[in-house]
Symmetry: C3
Subunit: 139 residues, 3 copies
């Protein structure tokens, strides 16, 4: 059994969903593990991870819009407002989605459905550098 | 260390929660791995996975009802409406719950609490065939 | 490859977020596995797990408050009310967050961001004894 630890960095341009499926697949192709578990953790609490439809970009628009209405950027609603109106909503949206995703790798390929893509969900309004830990365990 | 990749298919009859704990346990019993990690991924973005109470079916009714109110089936709210009023709500409910669950296996048994069951949460109104990837790694 | 199965018990004093990062780190320090996967499962359906900011306790207050407003403790809204007004909301909050977290371990340390902590989110009003399964697999 082998293990590989790495990080993939994603530069976001503010709130929205960023497809990183290809980045992860390209990284996988270079590793000497064909079958195993890939554990991806986002090392931040104001951005998160979702597996979502990769076909129609309207899905991404609607997702972002739904979460904005569900968790309003209104400082009157929160005590934690030190970094601005998008600060606490970002933490809540993160709790409602995922900090980590565990994927299965078979023959060097991610086991995903045809319409599934891996997305980083940036919840802050300004651009950020986001680090995704990639830990591969298998043989 | 051994690895086994398989798929379990669940035929849903439309929106609702479907307990697949027994299906997964029966599958586990046939595998030659006693201890390890079982990674379950649903290969769809309009149905999802939850671990929930397995005793009182009212819990399942209330869960379904809560998510219906939280994410209304109203085409005026969404841009992505190609497959009907239940299309975009299905993606959102999926993002609010889980695409995958990672379970621990000890002595061929799932480590779950007494009242915990594994459920597929179908978010579409019509029946669907849903595939759950089962990946077991251990010895 | 080695595997270790253990349980960590957390006594909650009612609804709120309980940081157990140190408990898990102390347990990890005693194990003879340096690199691998740590799968943590909460064996209950009325409390859950979240990775959240560990710096400002206002974040925890706002999180708890948000979920209380989103999922009201009002028996008129639910059929499942056998254990009181906090019963069904606890199951729903659990479905909206996580039953399990899969973490990567490198050189005996959890791979977490600087501001990330592991929290048990107790959703019941009264105190409870909560069991977190800890399963470590690696070498």
């Amino acid at each position: 059994m082998k293990q590989i630890f790495s990080e993939i960095t994603i530069e976001t341009k503010g709130q929205g969903l960023y497809n990183f499926t290809n980045k992860t697949m390209n990284w996988l192709n270079k590793q000497k593990i064909s079958n195993g578990i890939l554990n991806i953790n986002i090392l931040h609490t104001s951005a998160s991870l979702v597996i979502q439809e990769n076909a129609d970009s309207d899905v991404l628009y609607d997702l972002e819009n739904f979460f904005d209405k569900l968790v309003p950027m209104d400082n009157k609603l929160y005590k934690h407002t030190t970094e601005g109106k998008d600060d606490m909503p970002a933490h809540i949206k993160s709790a409602l989605t995922n900090n980590q995703i565990t994927l299965s790798i078979k023959d060097k390929k991610l086991i995903l459905g045809t319409w599934q893509g891996l997305y980083l969900f940036e919840h802050r309004l300004k651009k950020h550098t986001r680090i995704l830990s990639h830990h591969l365990i298998g043989n």
